[in-house]
Structures are given as C-alpha cells and as structure tokens.
Amino acid sequence: MDATNGISKNMTARKKHNVFIEGAISPAFIADSIAKHSTKTNIGAHDIFLGQVRKDEINGKNVYAIEYSTYTEMAEEKFHEIREAAFSKFDLTCMHIYHSNGIVKAGEISLFVFVSSAHRNAAFEACRWIVEEIKANVPIWGKEIFEDETYQWKENTNK
C-alpha cells in the first residue's frame, strides 16, 4: 500500500489534482514523472498514453495548432470521478492525468495518461479505459487553427 493508492479509499470527493497544464506537455515533464516512480518498487508495469496534435489536412489547409478550452469546474469533477473509478476497477499502484489548456502546436503533446501497477494487465486495461472516459465524458473543446489563421471546432472520433 502507498499513499497514492490510499487516496481512492480514504479521501472524499474534494481532493484536487492539477490536471490542466497551460500549453503543450513537454517530454522533460514526462521524464520527470517517470523518474519519480523509481522509489515505488512495487511497480512492475507502466502504461503511458500520449495524445499528440496532428497536422491534419482539411479542405487543403493544414492544422497548425489546437486551442483547448474547458469548463474547468465540471472537468475537474469528471477527472476526479475517472480517477476514483479507475482505482476501484483496476489494481493500480498509481495514476496521473495531465491535459493541456490553451494552444498546442502540431507535433506537441496535449494529453498524458500515466498508469502504474504491479503487473502489466491492470496498467494496460486501466490506461485504455481512462483515455476512452476522458474523450467521452470530460468537457474539453478544441479549435483546430489552420496555417492561414482560420479555424474549425474539432470533434472526437472513436478510432
């Protein structure tokens, strides 16, 4: 048992985790998160999902960046619910979710889901489940900004 795991059982619904990061999530930030887990020697498996902004071509124009916005209070409640549910559904040691707010350029990372467990099954299944939950249930929106500064509103696919 460790402190992170205990959160799911011992704390009530108002424990805040800072999920939102202003702008892109950097590889150095990800490395730092990974490094922090070396003291948790009951972990055998990490699964990390990263969402990266694609330079999609839409009607002949390339996406230059996505500008994310959110309904902060509701999103934080949803992230908290997802976190609680993940700990109760899967045998996890710890989990972290970070999502960008504001501008993230094509090639940069806007979502970082990091799940750790003793054995690989739980990490793999939880990571997948968490990403689907975020896409389906967290109120986040994205404006796909093209190189000519026009834009369109992004919609998630289930691919």
């Binding site: 999502h99 975020i134 967290v138 109120p139 929106w141």
Partner: protein, 75 residues
C-alpha cells in the same frame, strides 16, 4: 438562473455567461435559448445542470448552474 456557453455555442450566442429569469426545467431553458439564438437549432449539444449531464427534461432550481456543452474534443 445562470447559463454558461462553451466552444462553438459561446460563439453563436456571443456570450460565455447569461443570466435569465428562472425556468422550471431544462426543456424550457433550451426552447428559450433557441428562440433567442436561432442558430442553436442547428447545433448538437448537451446540457449540464450543476456540472452533471442532464438526462431527459430535468427540473431546475432558481440557483441551478446550466451549461450548454458542444461535443467534447479532449485528448
């Protein structure tokens, strides 16, 4: 009661927040807004009441926080 608009819906209404006289239920609020902002009729959206997605036609309190949410695009 306080309404909130997000994403493309905030663009259509030209507002992120709007205070209106109380309505009984979510259907009444939606109808009022569609009348005020006819372009809302072409939009797909969900309603959240106090940050929880409303199912069917939900009853409201005068202090309910009602949010108009376009399709999510996180991740």
């Amino acid at each position: 009661m306080m309404l909130k608009f997000f994403g493309q819906l905030a663009e259509i209404t030209g507002k992120t927040e709007l205070s209106i006289s109380p309505e009984e239920n979510t259907e009444a609020v939606i109808n009022k807004m569609k009348q005020q902002f006819p372009k809302l009729k072409e939009q797909t959206f969900q309603i959240a009441v106090n940050r929880i997605i409303a199912k069917d036609n939900q009853q409201l309190e005068p202090d309910s926080e009602i949010a108009f949410l376009p399709p999510f695009a996180g991740g």
